[in-house]
């Protein structure tokens, strides 16, 4: 098997005197959609930020695409930043820029593109993310929540990344919008061939798009496995997660989708 897209070994992070992760290991394979789940406060977002080099771990190593993540090493970080795209929880679009300008930010920062071409590529990405070309001229405050998520996805895809990090992309969306986002993500992942690190609470999303799921609990990744295996896992939290009323409902609808 080829080398993993992300490899985390023996990670320990502490924030504000509180230990968040301890001896955390994680591997994300190339081309897969990995779901990351865990109770509130188990450090899913912290894990993502640590992998992105925004938080420095106390111990452990993180390798992304074969390169060691080290916030001090600017050169490696810049080369990595060109190869990943991030969608933060609330979109984190720059409010003073239009959607199109937002998408162009990474292009202007990392590449030397003529303005007209950058504009065209931005429009392409905006359309790929399921928005209309006209939406590119709007400011983030003029967009609905679902459109903001799509715009943020367009920005994450600006440089055709190898890895896309998504922090709760469907949180706050209505079920229809969330399902559309799932379809969009899966379609793009298939045609563009990127790896996805997906933090979510949305069981429907987990059933619909993920190849494997990593469960965060007790400060580490308890298990990484396809959803069918996790359903049989004996750990009480995991059992409760997939067999609680919401888990059963999501599974039911996923099976209906599969048969229809």
């Amino acid at each position: 098997m080829s080398e993993p897209a992300i490899r985390v070994r023996g990670l320990r992070t502490k924030l504000g005197g509180q230990e968040i992760h301890k001896d955390l290991d994680l591997e994300v394979r190339k081309g897969e959609i990995l779901g990351v789940v865990g109770g509130s406060g188990t450090g899913k977002s912290v894990l993502m930020r640590t992998i992105l080099g925004l938080i420095r771990p106390r111990e452990g190593t993180i390798e992304v695409l074969g390169k060691k993540v080290d916030p001090i090493d600017r050169e490696t970080m810049i080369s990595l930043e060109r190869r990943w795209g991030v969608l933060f929880q609330d979109g984190a679009l720059f409010s003073s820029l239009t959607v199109s300008e937002n998408v162009q930010v990474p292009m202007r920062e990392h590449l030397d593109l003529p303005a007209a071409l950058a504009e065209e590529f931005a429009t392409l990405k905006i359309k790929l993310a399921g928005l209309k070309a006209e939406d590119g001229h709007k400011y983030p405050s003029e967009l609905s929540g679902g459109m903001r998520k799509r715009a943020a996805l367009a920005r994450a895809l600006a440089l055709d990344p190898d890895i896309v990090f998504l922090d709760e992309p469907t949180a706050g969306l209505d079920p229809v919008g969330a399902a559309q986002f799932d379809d969009l993500l899966q379609g793009l992942c298939r045609s563009l061939g990127f790896t996805v690190f997906l933090i979510t609470h949305d069981l429907d999303t987990l059933y619909a798009v993920t190849d494997r799921i990593a469960v965060l609990a007790d400060k580490k990744v308890l298990v990484t496995a396809p959803i069918a295996e996790l359903e049989r896992h004996p750990h009480p939290w995991i059992h409760e997660y997939f067999h609680g009323p919401r888990g059963r409902a999501a599974k039911g609808s996923a099976m209906i989708d599969a048969t229809s």
């Binding site: 590449l111 071409l117 392409l124 790929l128 070309a133 405050s141 055709d160 379609g187 298939r190 563009l192």
Partner: protein, 376 residues
């Protein structure tokens, strides 16, 4: 990467073969674009794009290929794509799928029209804002009247808290600034008046200007900057977190709960602050007069008592509650206008300070004219 030729063309009569090679990614897009532009010069009627030499293709590369093919097709050339592997064709298809809907470019209006448009917006905004202020003033007065009839509904705890925040805590900064301005005025006055041998009039200069204008203006400006802005930021943050809506839903009146205690605290605190500011301004002036002109504090006090009428003090003081009410109203009104994102809190806080200082100066000028007309 830039120098490498990634587009090579072989023409055989009517048919051209366009071979694409290397990395077709966004990083090389500028170069690829200019290379593809040369294809417009093709004379052939049929063109085949050979993609088999492409090592790496992303959406940008796929878009460029599609765009080039489209330009040729529009020029009457039959275009075929060949040699694309499975991934490449999937990408080309994805890009083609979204590319059909044409972009409608937004036309920027001419500069003059834009200027007029802005002027119109600003005028309409000013008119609307003035009307809303009147409305808000009416709402506040109505609520105040209602509270006056049922005083037990007045929020004394909140009032006391804000009295401390806008009154007591503002004393040091108001005092310091007034003291320093007193010093500056005495010093500047001394330099000028010494030329006429009229040094003693420094006392009158400092006393009249501090009591009539400087004391209250400084107080009002400091209060607008530190308390008016605080009102906007506090209420604005609550508005943003839907606390104000929650209040309404629970049957609490935001004007009664948020606006009135703040306004009352400011109206009570401002005259006290103004009095303190007058005092510190006079002390500053007296000190400078003593150091620079050898006018002893005793002489200073006696001269003030003899030559400066008490009416000057009242002219300054009477403005204090008026300015307080204006600053409080502007601060609370702008706070309640916050909506949408966190950026609007910052924007409206700035506006609150600018508007209240502007209003204070305008009303001060009105006071000045009015009081001189009635000979005070």
């Amino acid at each position: 990467m830039a120098a490498k030729t990634q587009v090579s063309v072989t023409e055989e009569g009517e048919t051209a073969r366009v071979s694409l090679a290397g990395a077709w990614t966004v990083a090389a897009a500028a170069d690829l674009d200019s290379q593809l532009r040369r294809l417009r010069l093709l004379k052939a009627r049929r063109a085949t794009f050979d993609l088999s030499g492409i090592e790496h293709l992303d959406t940008a590369g796929a878009w460029l290929i599609r765009q080039a093919a489209k330009t040729l097709t529009d020029g009457g050339v039959t275009v075929a794509l060949a040699g694309a592997d499975q991934r490449a064709s999937a990408l080309l298809e994805t890009v083609a799928g979204v590319d059909q809907s044409a972009d409608t470019p937004v036309k920027a209006p001419a500069t003059v029209i834009e200027l007029l448009e802005r002027l119109g917006f600003a005028t309409a905004f000013a008119v609307r804002e003035s009307r809303s202020y009147l409305g808000f003033l009416g709402l506040t007065l109505e609520t105040a009247a209602r509270i006056a009839l049922r005083p037990h509904r007045f929020r004394f705890t909140s009032f006391a808290f804000h009295l401390e925040a806008v009154g007591l805590n503002a004393l040091p900064i108001v005092g310091l600034i007034s003291f320093l301005i007193g010093v500056v005025m005495a010093y500047q006055g001394a330099t000028q008046l010494r030329q006429f041998g009229a040094e003693i009039f420094v006392v009158d200069l400092v006393a009249i200007s501090v009591l009539r204008e400087i004391g209250i203006l400084l107080t009002a400006i400091v209060v607008a900057g530190r308390s008016g802005s605080a009102f906007t930021a506090q209420i604005g943050t609550m508005k943003l977190r839907e606390e104000v809506d929650a209040m309404r839903a629970l049957g609490l009146d935001p004007v009664e709960v948020l606006v009135l205690p703040r306004l009352a605290a400011l109206v009570v605190a401002m005259p006290i602050l103004c009095f303190f500011s007058d005092l510190m301004g006079l002390i500053g002036g007296a000190m400078m007069a003593w150091i620079d002109l050898d006018i002893s504090p005793e002489t200073f006090v006696r001269r003030v008592q003899a030559n400066t009428s008490i009416k000057h003090f009242w002219v300054g003081m009477v403005k204090a509650p008026v300015f307080a009410a204006m600053i409080g109203l502007v601060g609370c009104y702008q706070g309640l206008k916050v909506k949408g994102d966190a950026g609007s809190v910052g924007r409206l806080t700035t506006r609150s300070v600018v508007q209240s200082i502007f209003l204070v100066i305008v009303v001060d000028a009105v006071f000045s004219i009015f009081l001189s007309l009635i000979d005070v």
